[in-house]
Subunit: 344 residues, 2 copies
Amino acid sequence: MPKERTATLRLQDVAEQAGVSLATASRSLSGAPGVSEAVAERVREVARRLGYVANVHARSLAGGVSRSVGLVVHEIGDPYFAEIASGVLRVGAREGLTVQICHTGRDPERELDQIRLLVANRVGAIIVAGSGFVDASKQAAAKADLQAFQRAGGRVAVIGRHHLGADAVLPDNQKGGRAITEHLLGLGHRRIAVASGARELTTIADRMTGVEEALTAEGIDPASVPVVEAEFTRAGGRQAAERILDEHPETTAILALNDDMAIGVLSALRARGVSVPEDVSVAGFDDVAVAQDLAPSLTTVRLPMAEMGEQALLLALKEPSSRPRRRHAGHEVVARDSTAPPRR
Amino acid sequence: MPKERTATLRLQDVAEQAGVSLATASRSLSGAPGVSEAVAERVREVARRLGYVANVHARSLAGGVSRSVGLVVHEIGDPYFAEIASGVLRVGAREGLTVQICHTGRDPERELDQIRLLVANRVGAIIVAGSGFVDASKQAAAKADLQAFQRAGGRVAVIGRHHLGADAVLPDNQKGGRAITEHLLGLGHRRIAVASGARELTTIADRMTGVEEALTAEGIDPASVPVVEAEFTRAGGRQAAERILDEHPETTAILALNDDMAIGVLSALRARGVSVPEDVSVAGFDDVAVAQDLAPSLTTVRLPMAEMGEQALLLALKEPSSRPRRRHAGHEVVARDSTAPPRR
DNA sequence: GTGAAAGCGCTAACAA
DNA sequence: TTGTTAGCGCTTTCAC
């Protein structure tokens, strides 16, 4: 980190070169009114020639405005969040905004720390992606900080169902859960098992609600359906699949609550010599890029991740409304090769 | 973005509440020496109680130091860069650094814009990930800006071979290219084809150099090996595979120069009814997370992406040396199910 | 239309 | 050990 005073160009230098005052130079470069076009153009020309770039810190300190936004994700290495980030960065670049990204590891405490850091950085907006917690108290502290941030003029948008009192982009978790279950039921499956992540996450809870709706509508008691809870990862999917195979050998279809788990399920089935979709059908959720490249290609629910990222930033860029806005993101069941009618 | 002056807490408020001067409050919170532990603790307590967070802009303006770094990637939605970013964020969080990420889309002009933006943001360090260009002039402007940034006290680290005059983490592209080719040759393949990306990228050039070394060592004329150039993506891999199948039906092994292309190759082969590895072996490069989950699982060269990200930030955090440092990242051929001895 | 000057919130000399 | 004060580079009234 630079310690010694950096010898960079200041606006003062540009002003002197252009033979105008600091104020005029400032106005010229920020496009503020009250400067003749001729002078403004001259100043801009000088700035360009000198390679001047304004000091964002000074600018934001003096003007109280910030051209940067913060994005809080679980883990950027996870394709789900990488896609969301991609959407956010795209809009950010278009709007000339800097985007700061940070990890939470789904730990409310780290989340809080990161949010505080973003507030300290005086970002103009904060976007929280990733699942909320069913237990609102887990994010109570974050909520308090975000509310204070909003009162101070900051903007907040979340992706997913949170109890954070902010504009939200809502993935179709419940409807998607219902739709993918209907797809399985429509194929004739009656012995379905679910590979689930931690139920304390709203993402999981909502997807499960959808699953249960579809089950009930078909006259199946949700309580009769095995739901194996494991980590929301490949490894978790593998474990879940093994337990399902061992404890519920009659299962004809496994629904994994995200693609990562579905990939783990596929790998466990392969290892056990269970063929998909002949012996067991497998479905996922999210439609990460690789879902189509697996063999068999994965039937899943497509969530428009990148678009959700874009929407979230766009929401955050709007004037705040009196009540939190909600945008529903849509979903689509993508039927591929991993699901087929059951044999029996 | 907040327009109205935000009514946040200032250090002055904390100082008053604690009954000390601004300077003492500053020292207490930044851990500077010259304050009695008792007073420092009291100030910290007050700050905590009030929920005070220092204004980074004021801090960096006054102190000339910055606790943030910039990361320049091709596209964050690409798993290769997402993994690198994950490594950078991990170290960043540990060091209390904010990380700004931006896209270039492999366009030198956008890269330059983004670098300028980072400089304007007075980040302490800039990390440029992604391939360099064989033609140094394409990044000449970026180089000039980065050099100026370094002279002004900023730190720069690159991942990959660039002509940027900065510390570098070098993926084992050449050695890896040689090793994976040797793997194919070792299995007995003599009719190998390469699905390559644009040769203007150093990543591709280096991997090809390794491939050619191995070929030559085995007494095969590199010029006799078909190299199909296409986009460095799945779609590009698909196209390349189709051309290889059409124009060089005798091919027994296809080496794709990254996993993304390899996935496209696999998908094209599947569509054509060509079985892997029985009819044709396929190998990739990078070992992105899904490589192991494909069917057949993909033989590839593992590059420690997340670690490369960590290393790059660590390099950038060190004191600058008189001459650019180089860190070699290592590689490992991971033999999986997509390669086997040729039939014929 | 242009310039002078007062801060923005903080750090770092320099005094006490 | 503590306090006073002068900036950091910019935006923004307020005069002219």
